[in-house]
């Protein structure tokens, strides 16, 4: 399956996790990876499944590298009805009011433009005891299986 991992990052933690996911799945799939700040809404390709990895920064805001993408989405209003994505969030429950609001906003942005979310949005907590990849690898496996089934492809 063609998969593109898109990450929105501020401190680099989401970038590192995105690269880890790439290493984990590239044996079985054709995987590309891009920082959201280098990705334009016009680049979305219906033949590709998108894995989004996004952190939260400041007061529940999108991380810096997702901001230009959000601005471009607002300006270009692309039709993403043929696009499937799944999203993994990074956050810190020390700031519980806004915990994982960055990825939440990014998912809402995708859905608002017609994209289909596959699976639940999974959130890692920097103040918890789990390693992000220990949650993200099973998440990636699950959503890839789900989208394979949905699109009638062999996994």
């Amino acid at each position: 399956m063609k998969i593109t991992i898109l990450y929105g990052t501020e401190t680099g933690n989401a970038e590192m996790l995105a690269e880890d996911i790439q290493s984990e799945i590239e044996g079985d799939h054709e995987v590309e990876i891009s920082n959201l700040e280098d990705f334009a809404p016009a680049d979305f390709d219906a033949d590709c499944f998108y894995l989004l990895v996004c952190s939260t920064y400041g007061d529940g805001d999108l991380p810096a590298s997702a901001q230009p993408f959000a601005d471009a989405m607002a300006a270009e209003k692309p039709d993403l009805a043929a696009i499937h994505f799944a999203i993994f969030g990074l956050g810190d429950s020390e700031y519980d009011e806004t915990f994982n609001h960055g990825p939440k906003k990014l998912a809402e942005l995708m859905i608002a433009h017609g994209a289909h979310q596959v699976g639940e949005r999974v959130a890692h907590d920097a103040s918890g005891s789990d390693m992000a990849e220990d949650l993200a690898f099973p998440w990636a496996e699950t959503v890839i299986a789900e989208v394979s089934e949905k699109l009638g492809e062999a996994a």
Binding site: E10, T11, G12, N13, M16, Y57, G58, D59, A64, D92, S93, E94, Y95, E97, T98, D125, A126, S127
Partner: protein
């Protein structure tokens, strides 16, 4: 691209720079040198003990050593163990990322009275920096001067009840010191109006979780600016929070004029819009910025810099992070800064294979390499008691003992 680059200071700026350099040019030999036996600088000794999520960037930095091939030379002070000139001769490029660790003084009469303490001095002691001075008695009524995130960190730690430090890496001694501090009132003052306070709104909001405080925000004022309104809203929201034992008072528009007292701080005299005001206190904690520590001639280097804005000090000599820009900017800003500097360095980089690189440290005793740090790290996390995630080794001697002999660096 091959070549040898030395980065002086293994804090967040130095580590992000090594990460960016090695991403662009994986064949470089990048050596991170730190005067401490342990890496990560302010991530370990500046980021508050109760902000473990923020310290998560250390996982990225570990990879710089474990996967990207950077080397750590800990317990090496440039200027003392190796001169800057010798270091520059040994490497194709040298980057100074040593940060700024000396507390800026109030520069008003009485700022040297016993009872005036800089935020850096206090946080080093709280976070068990091996060069820290003793934790002082702050008395019942400390005043914090400063309106940045460092000031809020201090305020929050001083105000926390013991159980609110669960999950942190605050050591046994500092934890006992906090529990027994006897603090009744903390007044935090800023020169600017509340709307222009430098702290992040999210840092203010976090105070609403404190269980044993009652918070008053005096004279927050108003603003039309959206960014300023965010700060004001956060302040307004915490006003009146809690009915606990420790009283926290936010004051604004107070410019320190003098610290007063006979042989010991007794009050701070401020200028305000409506005349002078004297606030009695038992100690003064200043959180108004940092300057270069003695050792590297930072101010002269920056003043003579070829292009300080880009980070070029002289041919083959660069500056990064706070050392370049001054004591402003959080961890992600230093990441962006490091990425920009990596391009500047590599743009006109030329390697001379005859340079000796890390061999310049041969003959120095007690260098701690990355595997030595890994042993320290394992010992610290392994010794964490109930309610803590780490017990820091607090002296150079214990660090060096656990780090053990240096392995070959070649």
């Amino acid at each position: 691209m091959s070549g040898k680059i030395a980065i002086v200071g293994a804090g967040p700026s130095g580590c992000y720079l090594a990460q960016a350099l090695l991403k662009k040019a994986p064949d470089l030999q990048v050596d991170l040198i730190d005067q401490l036996p342990v890496p990560y600088g302010l991530v370990r000794y500046g980021v508050a003990a109760d902000h473990q999520g923020t310290k998560g960037v250390a996982r990225q930095f570990a990879r710089v050593f474990e996967r990207q091939g950077a080397r750590f030379f800990g317990n090496v002070a440039i200027g003392r163990d190796v001169t800057l000139d010798d270091l520059r001769a040994a490497y194709d490029a040298v980057v100074l990322a040593a940060g700024l660790s000396t507390d800026r003084r109030l520069a008003v009469p009485g700022d040297d009275l016993p009872g005036v303490y800089g935020a850096g001095r206090l946080t080093r002691a709280l976070f068990e920096h091996p060069d820290a001075e003793e934790l002082p008695d702050l008395g019942a009524h400390p005043v914090i001067v400063g309106n940045g995130n460092v000031a809020i960190d201090l305020l929050r730690l001083l105000a926390k009840a013991p159980e609110e430090l669960d999950g942190s890496d605050l050591g046994e001694g500092p934890s006992r010191w906090l529990a027994q501090s006897g603090i009744k009132t903390i007044t935090i003052t800023g020169r600017s109006p509340a709307a222009r306070a430098k702290f992040d709104a999210v840092m203010v909001k976090e105070l609403a979780k404190l269980s044993d405080v009652r918070i008053e925000v005096v004279g927050a004022g108003d603003s039309d600016d959206p960014a300023e309104l965010k700060t004001l809203e956060a302040l307004t929201a915490i006003h009146g929070h809690g009915d606990g034992a420790k009283r926290i008072i936010f004051r604004f528009g107070l410019t320190p004029k003098a610290v007063e007292g006979e042989g010991q701080v007794q009050a701070v005299r401020f200028d305000t819009e409506s005349g002078e005001e004297v606030i009695p206190c038992t100690s003064v904690l200043t959180a108004i910025g940092f300057e270069a520590a003695p050792g590297l001639p930072r101010d002269a280097l920056v003043a003579e810099a070829a292009d300080a804005e880009e980070g070029r000090l002289a041919p083959g000599l660069f500056a990064a992070g706070w050392f370049r820009r001054g004591p402003r900017g959080t961890i992600p800003e230093n990441r962006a800064d490091a990425q920009a500097l990596a391009s500047v360095i590599l743009d006109d980089f030329s390697a001379d294979p005859t340079r000796m690189g890390g061999q310049v440290f041969d003959g120095l005793d007690n260098i701690v390499d990355y595997s030595g740090w890994s042993r320290i790290d394992a010992a610290e996390t392994g010794a964490a008691p109930e309610g803590r995630c780490r017990t820091k080794l607090a002296t150079r001697e214990t660090m060096l003992g656990v780090a053990g002999a240096r392995e070959t660096t070649k």
